[in-house]
Amino acid sequence: MSQEIDLKQIERRTYLTLQQDGIWDLFVGLALVGVSIGLLTKTPGTTAILPILAIILAPIVKRAMTLPRLGYVKFSPERQSKQKRNLNAMTVLFTLTALLGLVVFYAYLGDAGWQKWIRGLGLIPLGFVLALAALVLGLLYGVRRCLYYAALAMAAFIASHLLDMHPSVKFMVIGGVLSVTGAILLTRFVRKYPRPSREQSDVR
């Protein structure tokens, strides 16, 4: 019997169990689908509110669904520091994304040289930043599927620009893939980890 114990692997697997539920994929996906519908129907309120709702609701749903099924864990101080650092990195990235979004938005308000140049690129810069955010998220948190999302985002934005499609198409495609992936992961998760009864969570 092998007595090789890879503690790093155990710790990593323990941490990644919490990411198996697909809840973030589902909520971000639905938010993007909503953005797509907002763009199609020209209702900017929908476009702005849904991502914010996703960020607010996903942790609440995660707390209600995932934590009771997986149980309580307090990670080591090293992992907690790493999580804090990751959160700081994601906050910086999110801020940069928002700023770039503003720059792109502002590019449509004037005719200066740089504004025309950005308009010429379409929404590819925004797609690049979204892909970068997904990539960084995947690398920081070790969630491999985020790397595929990053590639999908970049491909969708470039294809949409080259084929001159309506902006809503790329958000629908990305949102659709995320939502479906999230729904499948969540279904599998709920089947694999049924909610334990009070009795089942006690030591005899």
């Binding site: 323990t14 969570s201 030591v203």
Partner: protein, 111 residues
């Protein structure tokens, strides 16, 4: 015994293997608790895939040995059976890992 086995080097003593930890299920339990600060019964059961009865039994042995502490705590208004390794348990696991590494690296197949 060494001469009968014909083994060339019998000078190294066999390191002491902590039998409390050495049992496979308990080894898995201790390894999982070692990498976290604390966890509850449900989390540990999910990670180890042990049955409730089996896990309870092993936890009892570890608690008896002074390697872990079990407490009932309220976390966000919900009762949990919280498990954590004691300092003694962590040191015992460190010793166990060192002893196993020494034992396996000094084996006859090694150049």
């Amino acid at each position: 015994m060494c001469a009968e086995a014909g083994s060339p080097d019998c000078s190294q003593p066999t390191p002491e293997i902590d039998r409390i930890i050495h049992e496979p299920a308990r080894l898995m339990i201790v390894a999982h608790l070692y990498v976290v600060a604390e966890a509850d019964f449900v989390f540990l059961q999910r990670q180890t895939s042990l049955t409730r009865g089996n896990l309870s039994s092993h936890l009892g042995k570890l608690e008896e040995a002074g390697y872990m502490e079990i407490s009932k705590e309220f976390i966000e208004k919900t009762p949990h059976t919280v498990l954590r390794l004691t300092e003694r348990g962590r040191q015992a696991f460190d010793r166990y890992r060192k002893n196993m590494r020494d034992f396996l690296s000094g084996g006859p197949g090694k150049a």
